[in-house]
């Protein structure tokens, strides 16, 4: 093995180990703390105390699995978008994908079109909204076929505001059908159950391997147009396919966790710094970092929710993971904006 390959293997191994540790901690954390060794025993169905098994399998595993899946999907989705748009600032939350998807999710769940709305089909509706939202942003920000990264971001901010307002209108119109608004607008994993995990699983199970297998084509897309064409890539088709895959991954994540931001921004950018521009390394690392980041952020959200710093409050909604991500993601966004100008 040559030097970069060894380096990459070590990084992947470290990220994987980190994700595993966080996953076990995540399963242990809650109103009742379960130490890692008992979590492990409960997972393999050898628990001394049957309540351990009930808590781990019934309550905590779906949420931890969702953190894992959603993190992977968002990390990969952001990485694909950044490659297709050749824009380090692209991610589902900053291109209209999330806002459009969430609007459609809320319309779908509120039953506004009068048709039955079976939950497993939610991601399909979300995908439609995601593509429409992103198309709106791209159309509004392109000038003579070219898109300036910062102009795209500013356009996305305004389109996002518009779509979020529409989402809020739908929420107000049918609040009782939809419950809390927080998960949709800022992204949350609180109170997720197995049903949610089953919704996300097929999208992650299909989308993540497809994205990783497409790494070679993604590498070509990162070149300038003439070079990609000269190397025999059907440019428009490849770009559309990669973009559709990114939107599909985001739709799967949005359907179960709402508009979780900054993972799609942070994971690919860190992956690129660590593993270089080669998509065959950057994409798997982005997937790994995505789930690492979301597990870590959700651990913070969970632990703050158990022991609230405000003693007066008795009943709380619980801290949504999206709020934690905003605190860490916003400074990163500032740095990336600076870099994209230099």
């Amino acid at each position: 093995m040559n030097e970069p390959a060894r380096h990459f293997a070590a990084v992947m191994l470290a990220a994987g180990a980190g994700a595993l540790v966080l996953f076990v901690l995540h399963l242990g954390l809650g109103t009742v703390w379960i130490p890692p060794e008992r979590v492990f025993l409960a997972l393999v169905d050898r628990a001394a105390d049957p309540t351990d098994r009930t808590i781990v399998w019934g309550l905590r595993l779906p949420r931890a699995l969702l953190a894992l899946l959603v993190g992977m999907m968002l990390g990969l989705s952001g990485a694909l978008m950044q490659s297709v748009m050749r824009n380090r600032l692209a991610e589902p939350g900053l291109t209209g994908v999330s806002a459009g998807g969430v609007l459609m999710a809320v319309v779908f769940l509120a039953g506004l079109w009068g048709l039955p709305a079976p939950r497993p089909f939610l991601p399909v509706a979300v995908l439609g909204g995601a593509i429409a939202g992103c198309a709106l942003v791209l159309l509004a920000s392109q000038r003579l076929g070219r898109i300036d990264p910062l102009r795209l971001l500013l356009t996305a901010v305004i389109v996002n505001a518009l779509l979020v307002s529409l989402t809020s209108l739908v929420m107000l119109r049918s609040e009782y059908a939809l419950g809390s608004i927080l998960p949709w607008l800022i992204g949350s994993l609180n109170g997720r159950v197995w049903g949610d995990a089953w919704i996300a699983l097929p999208w992650a199970g299909l989308g993540v391997p497809m994205g990783l297998l497409a790494a070679r084509a993604i590498n070509l897309l990162q070149l300038d147009d003439d070079s990609s064409r000269a190397l025999g890539l059907p440019l428009h088709g490849a770009r559309l396919a990669a973009f559709a895959l990114a939107a599909g991954l985001a739709a799967g994540a949005l359907s179960v966790a709402g508009s979780v931001g900054f993972i799609g921004l942070a994971a690919p950018n860190v992956a690129r710094v660590v593993a270089g521009a080669d998509a065959r390394r950057a994409l798997p690392l982005a997937v790994m970092l995505g789930c690492l980041l979301l597990l870590a952020a959700d651990l913070v959200a969970q632990s703050v929710s158990i022991k609230p710093p405000i003693p007066s409050s008795t009943q709380r909604a619980g801290l949504p993971v999206g709020a934690v991500l905003a605190l860490f993601g916003a400074p990163l966004l500032v740095v990336l904006i600076r870099r994209s100008v230099r």
């Binding site: 809020s168 929420m171 107000l172 405000i310 007066s312 905003a326 966004l333 100008v341």
Partner: protein, 342 residues
């Protein structure tokens, strides 16, 4: 040097037409604002209920205790946010400066959320001071972070990142302190709202605007000097840094009291000065400031009428409608703007 005299040769009839048109639209909107709601009061009966003794007790109560203060707050709110945006755009020489993109609205909302949700004992009359402190704190962060920005868009996007951070913090405070993640609790601090406001709220806002608006109009000539290149304005004897800081404080105090009673009314401060600029046709602050007040009032009033009818018989927060009204023209302006913006 730029022509800064107010008189436009041969333009007086155009001015009269524009002023008359705006006044007529505002009058129609004011009548609609007073008529629409539960109970509906036909426009022809308004004078009797307003100035005479006619009308059911419920109608008299609705007009005198709810709709009149709401109308006044809508007009004052629009004027305040419009003027604040115009001041910021002129003195920071950034067409994308506005209370929301400078962190003023977000910081003020966060301060209010902390005070109200964590039960910090602050008397009602000092709420605007708290909001001002929050707004100024956040704006200092944005101004320091975006120092050295190469373009207006870069500075504005830094504001977007800080706004996302502040939003995350507001959500964190809400989800840890409020008893539910219900729509209304979130909207209380993230979306401007004018429903159920009373004369107390009008009284709280009035002194701040009564002091801020004349100050801004008197200082308009100084703001004009700041539009020049820094070297030039310094050679004209202006202390640019101190003067600019003074104007930022003025712009923040114009919206602080409004955010304290009505929440962050979104995008009016960003859009209004551009519409006012189209109307007055040249970048003279002595014309731009009053025009921004009038157009801001018109925008908020129109949005509030829309807020009452969009999902009638329910009302929605006015901030959702200002976004719906302002986003399309902002996208249009962004597309139309030359490369100088980016």
């Amino acid at each position: 040097m730029r022509e800064t005299t107010a008189a436009v040769p041969g333009g007086s009839s155009r001015w009269a037409a524009a002023a008359g048109g705006l006044a007529a639209v505002i009058a129609v909107l004011a009548v609609a604002e007073l008529s629409i709601g539960q109970p509906m009061i036909a426009p022809e009966r308004l004078p009797g209920v307003l100035f005479g003794e006619s009308g059911e007790p419920l109608e008299r109560l609705a007009i005198h205790e709810l709709r009149l203060p709401r109308l006044i707050l809508a007009v004052l709110g629009g004027a305040g946010f419009g003027l604040s945006g115009a001041i910021l755009q002129v003195v920071l020489r950034n067409p994308l400066a506005s209370p929301e993109l400078l962190g003023v609205s977000g910081g003020a909302s966060l301060a209010m959320a902390v005070v109200l949700l964590l039960n910090v004992p602050v008397v009602f009359s000092l709420h605007p001071v708290v909001a001002l402190a929050g707004g100024l704190g956040a704006s200092v962060v944005v101004l320091l972070t975006s120092r050295g920005a190469r373009s207006p868009v870069e500075a504005a996007l830094t504001g977007v990142a800080v706004a996302a951070l502040l939003n995350g913090m507001i959500v964190a405070v809400i989800s840890l302190a409020a008893s539910s993640g219900a729509v209304q609790v979130l909207f209380l601090f993230t979306v401007g709202n004018l429903s159920n406001r009373s004369w107390n709220h009008v009284e709280l806002v009035c002194p701040w605007l009564a002091a801020g608006i004349p100050t801004a109009l008197v200082l308009a000539q100084a703001a004009n000097v700041l539009q020049l290149h820094d070297d030039l304005s310094s050679s004209l004897g202006a202390r640019t840094l101190q003067l600019r800081a003074l104007f930022v404080v003025l712009a923040a105090s114009l919206v602080a009291a409004l955010v304290a009673v009505a929440g962050p009314i979104a995008w009016v401060g960003l859009l209004t000065p551009h519409l006012a600029g189209l109307l007055v046709g040249k970048p003279d602050a002595r014309l731009l400031f009053p025009a921004s007040m009038v157009i801001g009032a018109l925008l908020v009033l129109a949005s509030d009428v829309l807020a009452k009818v969009v999902i009638y018989p329910w009302e929605v927060p006015v901030g959702l409608c200002t976004t719906l009204v302002a986003a399309p023209p902002m996208l249009w302006l962004l597309r139309r703007s030359s490369a100088g913006l980016v």
